[in-house]
Symmetry: D2
Subunit: 204 residues, 4 copies
């Protein structure tokens, strides 16, 4: 394998990148000037070293407070009575951009596959327990399960609901899941059967 093929192989591991695009990326590198190429190589090395995970919500953060907290967890303006559990950083980012939520977060780091496997391989269960302890000592009133409405997301939602149930009932914490129903733009005539069921059951 020559260097071009080696690099193409490495790029092929990138998410959503096939052989052809990987080859195009390698070609692209060759055509760039030396500055871009060494910046890229250095940045790739540094990003991994400089990546921090917020010690509370576990999201990826590059600047953290002295206690290792991300900008959300260290902000005095967030609502401590609400904790939303999401699957991954991109979900958290998307909800923040939408500007619809002002509480705290916890990032699971994944969702559970729908087969029997060691749960902690897929989601950060220990860290979740620590975070729940932390917020329970504070003013927590509601845990919002913010999972995607995919099979794995629903499975993870149900797993977490059961997991937190006892804790929640002891401390009088509400557990909720994001509402299900018609999403914006959807026409009744083309809505999926289960969506219609959720929409009817959650009418108000």
């Amino acid at each position: 394998m020559n260097e071009f093929e080696k690099l193409t192989e490495l790029f092929r591991k990138f998410p959503g990148v096939g052989t052809r695009q990987a080859g195009r990326f390698a070609h692209f590198i060759i055509r760039q000037n030396g500055d871009y190429v060494s910046n890229l190589a250095n940045s790739i090395q540094r990003v991994k070293k400089s990546a921090r995970f917020c010690s509370r919500c576990q999201r990826l953060a590059f600047s953290t407070s002295d206690e290792g907290l991300c900008s959300i967890c260290s902000s005095p303006n967030r609502d401590h009575s609400l904790l939303m559990i999401v699957g991954k950083d991109a979900d958290l980012d998307h909800i923040e951009r939408a500007g619809v939520y002002e509480g705290e977060y916890f990032v699971l780091g994944g969702v559970l596959p729908m087969r029997d496997e060691e749960v902690s391989k897929f989601i950060r269960l220990d860290a979740l327990e620590r975070v729940l302890d932390y917020y329970l000592d504070s003013e927590l009133q509601e845990v919002v399960l913010g999972l995607s409405l995919t099979p794995e997301g629903e499975y993870t939602n149900d797993f977490l609901a059961k997991k937190i149930e006892v804790l929640a009932s002891e401390r009088d914490i509400k557990i909720s899941s994001l509402g299900r129903g018609l999403s914006v733009g959807s026409e009744l005539e083309y809505s999926d059967k289960d969506t219609l069921r959720y929409a009817f059951m959650s009418r108000k």
Copy 2:
């Protein structure tokens, strides 16, 4: 215009049919045997004459009871405490196929455009009032607004909610709308901002 062009023009009026497809339909007719062609021509004439609209819910029905009621409105097994108002026949059919609802229906016959126009040109307002009177004398407890979550659907939803409000509060009837939120299969990361807002607001 020759007969081929005339027929193409007529087919072009069919919903979702452009010139090219209309021409293909006309070609298709020419290539069929005489039986198919006269069956089609007769069926087109008859379907209009034999079409009935249910005297209660206004949906299209081909066999009606002596009182002019469709199979749903004349069924003894539907739940008279619930009335769902939908935009069009296809919405009703789709909800029935999903099997998630056992109440009664009313078919508006359309939705309102989002500009000031004579409402009764777009939806069956008089018939709606008659139907509400009918069910109010019965055991009606809830009117479910079953509109699509499109701009026109939301506009119609709000128009109807306001319209029925007084009536409903006088008679202690609940007015609800289909639930809004994540629809089945949707990933948080790609959900639209307003859908996220609905999903958060309707969490439970």
Copy 3:
């Protein structure tokens, strides 16, 4: 089956129309006024009766000359030295719209499936022979095989080439096929292998 279902069944036979669209067509008919409906029913009956096939090129024509010729075959302005054989009316129409050809046509009425079957079930072989006789008595110099570059089109092209070969060599008629190669807009990098072969072989 009620009239609605009967009509839906008949519409489902239309090319490219599925059950859902067929139902929408039936609904559409019901909502139209009586004039439209009887115009449509009449036009469907008449179009079949008034359809003529040009006695020479066999294309569908609605007004024909006294000799039963379509507007192209009866035009004094077409080039009688060229005869293009195409698969179907839509191909002829498309070439006419493109305005790239001024010769005469013959419409096969189909292409050959790629298995051993009675050829005359698929293409108008007798009529083709009559037309070739006609033009051979005239000034014919070239027969252009104007088939699609699909497997069936290529098979039909080869079948016709062999069929006409002897005739053509006796009378010194050229047989040609439409050029194959890069089509407009195509990028080399994404072109199919056989297209590249044709493009290279037909370079000029």
Copy 4:
């Protein structure tokens, strides 16, 4: 800008990569183990240094002969009477994979934009002249212009044809372009008008 943002910016320059995918690539890097990350960084640095351009056809090559020739230019089995000029490495690779051509190549390194600009900024004109000189001293009989059938490709084709014309006529070299017409799989009925014109003009 933190390291994550810096790396996202650098990935955004990759061909066909938008902000969202660039962010996903950066996330991907962070999640990989140290080996993958340092392999990638090293490979990116090395690929540029180890890239050679064949001193004759100018294509990217990683192993070259002592005279700096790529495997094609140094092969004794290629046909020296044919020289195909292509736009970019990927075109050459694609033609080689198709196995339809056995002559020599020259890689322009781009195509000309359709406005008046300094040509040598876009294509390797000097290198082309050197290569033509080289092959003219040899047994060259035909230059094949192997450009895409896009507007820029056609413009570049015409530019090169004019450029080489005199040279070619003096030395009795044929200049050809890849054939244009129906590409494999295309149906006449849906072919673009210019493609039909080319197909008719290049019939044979």
